[in-house]
Symmetry: D3
Subunit: 257 residues, 6 copies
């Protein structure tokens, strides 16, 4: 059989051996969400999975299956649920999924988990999911579980951002389906990007509040919140190197591997 | 970009076009579960995804992302939660996931969904998930959603089973990690099967009851409930052809495509 | 006062004494569901209660009150919720009921519980209910609770089935309101059976999938899935003897009584 | 078959006919709870069932199966969960049970429901259960469901109480397992009462507050909160006549039957 | 900074010091609910807060923030949800709020909590909330938490009631927005009472049952269930003195302060 | 009675009149949380309430009672649950509270709600709460409810920030208990601030990830994440003016008042 960094590609005895050795399990959190007319809807699955795969290789960990349905997209950060194809879970459902998976890993003896979020809106429900799992595990007598939780895009150098955005970085929230994600997809899955379809209706100009129901024309019709022009695989490589190196470094520091 | 049968590999405008045309969405239900010392733990993800991919091509549908964490494994049908690596959700969590996804698809305008289960224990919580989704959609004013729900392994001919089991078919429940699943994996992902590691401690002899907590030695230590000896890609092909042809035929009959 | 095998007919000091002696508590799971035009809707209450009463007498246990509202009837196994009078709970509700009862018994000091299911659809939500109860009891410091869970109809000899079905047993699912249940009712509550009203529109021919919403004419209009002709109290006696003897034997083996 | 006032003793076509005629369905709410050393633990099942049976006969209604597990017993009104045998549900579980049953009846076409509570602590969770059912039914398009909810013991004349308690009525809460309930049980199920075991450690003297955890000796050790001495079937008859006549009268007034 | 009896007006080190000294935390439960045309809708917030403030001063405790949204108003005790402005939570929501707050206090080291309810309908969901908190704290290893739970109006002398109601006390349930509450508001917040607007359509004459949906004219149109005429700050003072003295006395007795 | 901008200080007929006129209801979201050794723990209640009060006056709206217990504090934005006195709700509980309140207001006829968040961690659970309320209201037939949701601190001019932070604004997350909040408290409740106790252990230097359990020394021991030195009521006035003016302006634009 293959040597694999993906947990689900191991047999259970192989997994059991790794658990005994104190393996770090990476859990990527994704979703199925519109990412503009020029990219497939699995961007938030492909990217955190790709990051985890590389970090896991670097630090000797394994990658659990990516959660492919995340918390509801919000207009100001992901275009919102109004876009066809965006397929999402309620916050409580998503938190319970994260809770159950981490509790299940903990019951198996895993003691080191790194939750790597790849969909902005997953951030808070995953915080709750981890907290609930830790609470339940303590009640089950597991007191030495350690979890790190992060958004992969926060692991990037100032230099890299300056290089990618000579006119200034628009900020994480507006980066949905824009230069960063598009460049990373061009690196990992160029077959799922069509640069000819990059739209020109951004960047979004959102007010500092939410409205319910979402009014027509609240964000760009394309679903691209900032701009994807100028994306390239090379830029994706720059970013990915930063993400992997910096996350691996943090993991090493915290878990002593 | 690629032409893809996978929903998440489409852009949102491509998906929106398909929805307008009345596309059938296949939702595979899997899990991450031990499948013996000779197979990877993603069997219940690979197989329903593979079946859906082929049926979707045959009938012109698309395949939503496979749910990779399913309902808790039971000793008499999957070895149980005691096996390391089996990573599962509570029943309510799983039902809510199924509910939310189908409701989300319905909100997008999808009206034809085929839920294809690939993990025995998902059966009943997915029944509940679909029922809850239908209830919510009706309350949201969507009254023409139609869902078909099935276990893929029920779509097999008597002839095929007789051919595969000349000494008699041991039954679906005991087939966990055994000849049927192993043969299908040899067809789809031979890199994730190691026939040299097929164990010999089955078939399981279970009583007609459950015990909590699960006693030691309740099932085969290997996690293979029946027998995997004699599995082959050709047998997998026989099965897969049956599954695809028969499910496609049922889908055509029910959805008029 | 009466000597009673029914827990609810004991005073609390009598119950407390039995708990101290390590009594086995049987918990019958029923529902209120259509059972054809020839039988009352309490079949799934009468039968598991009757079985439990006899087994409890045989092994020296007591019978907790039967849960009279179970999980939603499904078209392919019970006719479905469309039949008037079928009155059911959501899966999560039913699981919580089972959880709370077993947790409550465990808090009282009971350490041996046998859950005896009499309604097909209760099977999986009761599995979840027991699992949740065991989890909570462990967190409450109760680590020696032992639960057996079973469907009573699985405790029948091949000989008996051959005798009852000379042309072959149609299988458990189709047996709803059919020969087995009718014969057992003729044994226990003949006043609730009217053999003149046994319908003739079965046996059901179901496809191997579910449909939502349930189409008209999906199953027999009578609600009898197989056939009830030829039912008799004698056949009921044959069955009941098998059920009681075999369940009692399993209980003795597992609980050492 | 029998003519029966019990819904579960009807066939589904018989029930369907009654629904078409606008039948009133009575839903008794009970529990399994200690009722002193002189009575069985099913008092709160026997009594509301007995009341409903008689009222249903009087007004031409039917009686749904009694819920046999109710909300947790409280020290000041039922002795509390500390008594062995008291077997109870969490508030949310109980409310969901009531919700699901009423919703299920409403889906079947029932439009007149009388919820008859026989266990003090069920009062508020049943209020919530009915409210949730009404909310869901409205969302399901059922706008003409009408529910009456009551505690049976509130239907008693001043004269009757004066006759039964020449020294003054101690109040409903303290009446647990005392003269009223004991007399009614002597009327309905004298085999489940042993007057020789009536204790003498009451009446309870509770403070006007609850304490958690419940201190030792908070209430009478017997579980009888007031006094059961002097109970008799004749007194039970007096009470039962009041209950039935007054509830029937209220039902007639509200439902116009 | 101020010396304050209100927990939220302390800094965290001040609070931490008090916890170390074994401080008693009072948690007032209120709601936002109609209280007739002559009083503001915060009566059930003002009164239990005022009581707690005084009792806390008397016994050396502190007062946690009052919960301002309570369980749904019921027609027979508070006029019901039909009155504009009555703004309420579902029972489960309210119980979870109470559970979370007490659990959170327990995690901080608080071991003495007095829950002081000021809204009739909060009674039972707060019982459940406290019970759930105690259960969770035990599972978290906190076994010495002690909670007292009470309705403030139950702490009143017979003499006081006789003095206030020379013609007889109508009972707690009918006292909504009537003489007791109005007098206490005249004492604490006379600016929120307008005695000229005291209505004259009471007292309510309710049947001994609930009806769903609530029929028109079920209670007084004003929302005042008994009578508020004759209310005065002096009467409020009489009551408040009773409440404070008697609750303080009970607290001292139970917590040994 | 007083003229009041606070909903709970109105009588129900006054509130009903305002609802008929289409009043805007402001719902402040707070919590009880450590805010350093120099401020009381009610900062997140005082500030959004103060903002709402002023905006409501400006636009003619009213202010519903502030929710005083919010979502769990996180180490990187509020110091975390480890600080004594921080008293919080689970995410699901908090979302249900927000849902129930907005649904309840909607049932009363309110159609314009502005949710004003004053506690960073409330942001996402309040998004979910509003979304759930809108979903339920639609199912209840209320289709014209409009909700605006905002964090008050996002309504501040670049000029103001430059004036307050000549050396650069450290960002919203680190502002916990720091210059902005302290200045606003000095404006609104100087009695709850003690500038002599402003600590000097910040600003926090957090990594870009969360850790569970929170390691010792993860953030400043004082609970002040940035710096509070230099806070003043004048700075608070500058900020408050910005908040009120800009929120009022947004409200006018969106609600047409």
């Amino acid at each position: 059989m293959v040597e694999s960094v993906f947990m689900a590609e191991l047999t259970w005895p192989e997994f059991a051996d790794k658990v005994k050795e104190g393996v770090i399990v990476f859990l990527p959190l994704g979703t199925t969400e519109q990412h503009g007319p020029h990219m497939a809807m699995n961007v938030d699955v492909v990217l955190p999975t790709g990051v985890c795969e590389r970090v896991a290789r670097a630090v000797g960990g394994i990658v659990a299956p990516t959660i492919p349905y995340g918390y509801k997209s919000q207009p100001r950060s992901g275009g919102g649920e109004g876009f066809p194809g965006t397929t999402s879970l309620d916050a409580n459902t998503f938190s319970l999924v994260v809770r159950d998976i981490i509790r299940s890993l903990g019951t198996d003896g895993v003691r080191k988990v790194v939750v790597v979020n790849g969909h902005f809106e997953n951030c808070w429900p995953s915080v709750e999911g981890v907290d609930l799992a830790m609470r339940e595990l303590r009640r089950d007598g597991v007191t030495d579980m350690k979890v790190m939780r992060l958004e992969y895009w926060d692991f990037v150098g100032r230099d890299t951002l300056d290089q990618l955005f000579p006119d200034g970085f628009p900020g994480t929230e507006l980066e949905h389906a824009s230069l960063l994600e598009t460049s990373l997809m061009l690196l990992l899955r160029p077959d799922l990007v069509d640069m000819d379809k990059v739209p020109d209706d951004g960047p979004a100009k959102f007010p500092t509040y939410d409205l319910y129901p979402v009014p027509d024309g609240f964000g760009p019709a394309s679903g691209v919140l900032a701009r994807a022009q100028g994306s390239s695989a090379e830029k994706g490589r720059l970013l990915m190197d930063d993400h992997v190196e910096r996350i691996a470094s943090a993991v090493r520091a915290e878990f002593g591997v």
